[in-house]
Symmetry: C2
């Protein structure tokens, strides 16, 4: 039986005079055997161990760009996140003019990585929130005391936010040590939930050293946190997803330190591939990304593609929430609901601090603007 | 007492009409408190929790480029690799026109991260090789059996290579499962060392899942491996360095999946910063990088800067070996010795497979070319 293969579409812009076929062959060799073509054993060709060029299509109107589909044996990537990334974009990251725009995984890979464990439906059920986007925030700024952060969170929960995450810069610093912060905040949120009868979830940031990070996940779980925030490229692409699975925690991913992958339209991968397809495959229930129109560089089209990669059909994987963020404000809620629809975790961070010194007031304004936007949209539709 | 601060030099190319001062301030906020300037508590400014612009210099002859020195409190990065990277280049990775070209760490940071434990002198002593570069190779291609790989390694060791590493695509695939591969190869090398009276070291690749990777490090140590190969951005920037330290293994770093950081001359970081300064600080004894003139994109100047970052003075850290690789051949040895000098780990991979079907013959040719190059260089000097 032939080994199963997955298929990657690279958009290739040759940076020299060699043919597109030569460039495509380079990728096949570089990402697998990493030796010159004439040194590859005959049996390796027969067994398909070297990548195989499935098709090369010149892009209409872009005579120097080609969409090159290359298949790899799935057992080379071994269903492990680090090596999957290595096969997809390892050494070729140090070349030029190669951009991943699509990946088609095998059923077996999909089943092995598993995707979101909660997804949109699971989180809605746990939060008991239907018919509107989730209202989420990040607690800031780093350098406040754990007590002050807990006071903020308590207010946000009383005001009706659904998900509160640590700002991704909040780790185990002495200002707000991880365990003290998580227990104080979780207590404040539990008290608020008891008062409101609503449910607010808190996702603390997992970070730090290899030997301490599992303890953090276990502590978050023991304190009753529903999920964790992870920055996959900071702590290791596998680490956070593995720990969340082990400790039954939902996963919100953060894009810090990922930006160079998207920076060049002709090299790297699209935001939809890394923050969408891959993070969803690995287990993200919510994927935070910098919305267009804020202070970051993503275009509207990139954001929409990313939302589609998170929520669209993907061989039976649960849909995940896109979470547009980065310079978002209450004034922009209408536009964001129009742009992203209901299955979205809208994230407003710093602007809540500016809106009012009382976090409960800010949160209430956020949620009521959200409900208003949803209602007026519904009225438009009718 | 004022909190200690480390200083990062960003080369900034503004991508809009705002002043360079506004761009510099953006970085200070984005990499620390991540909130709008007017929402920062007064005490945060007083305590220096927000990044501080130390200087802005327009580059001579480059009127749109500025070197911006920004200092951060060291306790915000918390002497942990993930968060240090987050402060250096987290969210700003998703902006434009920001390139790290220099970092000045505090004495306390240097002591805490610790740098190479062996370094150039430690590896020379362990290998008993002086007065010439190290001769190193990667065993390839993936998909051979563990037995075949061990035969290759035995031959390379008999032929006199100093360090043999796994190709970075060799992980725990069924073709050559980690434990079988490491034990067979280490046996073959031990036998060869007994025959030659020389010392060859083997560095297996640490990869795979969070829950399996520590077992791999422990197994490598138990088998007598002197070091390990790690790809920091694949397994987590902290993971491999931590495990190598815990199990007393030397560290060779591989640049796979790092390339997008270097790709844009105006955004990211230089190869010298990531593969040099940072990997050395974290503990690399040998840092592999793609040499100029091969099939990758680094320039000669970038390679020389990287070698300097690895070997130059850095507040008492041990020097590490630069290991230029990527399409290197025996014919290029003279040029490489000229370019890099003696304290270098020359890495020839696929070209050894092509040179002869007998790995011992290939290795002997490599080492004798290396000795010849060193001797002729010495004669030129005299």
């Amino acid at each position: 039986m032939a080994a199963e293969r997955f298929v990657v579409t690279y958009r290739v812009t040759p940076d020299d005079a060699r043919s597109i076929e030569a460039h495509a062959k380079d990728i096949c060799l570089e990402e697998t055997v990493e030796i010159p073509e004439d040194a590859v054993p005959a049996s390796h060709w027969e067994q398909g161990i070297v990548g195989i060029v499935e098709s090369i299509d010149e892009r209409p109107g872009q005579p120097s760009d080609y969409d090159v589909r290359i298949s790899y044996r799935a057992d080379i990537a071994n269903n492990e996140i680090p090596n999957l990334l290595n096969v997809l974009f390892g050494n070729i990251s140090i070349r030029r003019g190669i951009k991943i725009i699509d990946i088609q995984f095998t059923d077996q890979q999909i089943a092995s990585f598993g995707g979101p464990r909660f997804g949109v439906d699971g989180l809605r059920k746990a939060l008991n929130v239907y018919g509107r986007p989730l209202a989420t925030t990040a607690i800031k700024p780093l350098g406040l005391s754990a007590k002050e952060l807990a006071r903020l969170c308590g207010g946000y929960a009383l005001g009706g936010l659904d998900v509160i995450k640590d700002d991704h810069g909040l780790i185990d610093q002495h200002f707000h040590p991880f365990e003290e912060r998580v227990s104080r905040i979780q207590d404040a949120i539990r008290d608020a939930n008891a008062k409101t009868g609503r449910i607010t979830h808190y996702y603390p940031m997992l970070a730090g050293r290899f030997d301490g990070i599992e303890k953090q996940a276990a502590f978050a779980k023991a304190q009753g946190c529903f999920g964790v925030l992870i920055a996959p490229l900071l702590i290791g692409p596998d680490t956070g997803f593995y720990l969340a699975r082990k400790y039954d925690l939902a996963v919100m991913t953060h894009p810090t330190f990922t930006g160079t992958h998207f920076h060049d339209p002709r090299h790297g991968m699209t935001p939809a591939i890394l923050l969408g397809t891959l993070f969803r495959l690995f287990g993200a229930d919510i994927s935070v990304f910098p919305n267009y129109g804020g202070r970051f560089t993503f275009t509207e089209a990139e954001c929409q593609d990313l939302a589609e990669a998170l929520r669209g059909s993907m061989k039976g994987l649960k849909p995940a929430f896109p979470s547009p963020a980065g310079g978002m404000t209450i004034e922009k809620i209408n536009a964001m609901v129009d742009a992203y629809g209901h299955d979205t975790a809208l994230l407003i961070g710093g602007a809540l601090l500016r809106y009012s010194s009382d976090p409960e007031v800010s949160a209430r304004a956020f949620v009521s603007a959200l409900e208003h936007a949803v209602k007026s949209k519904r009225n438009q539709v009718q």
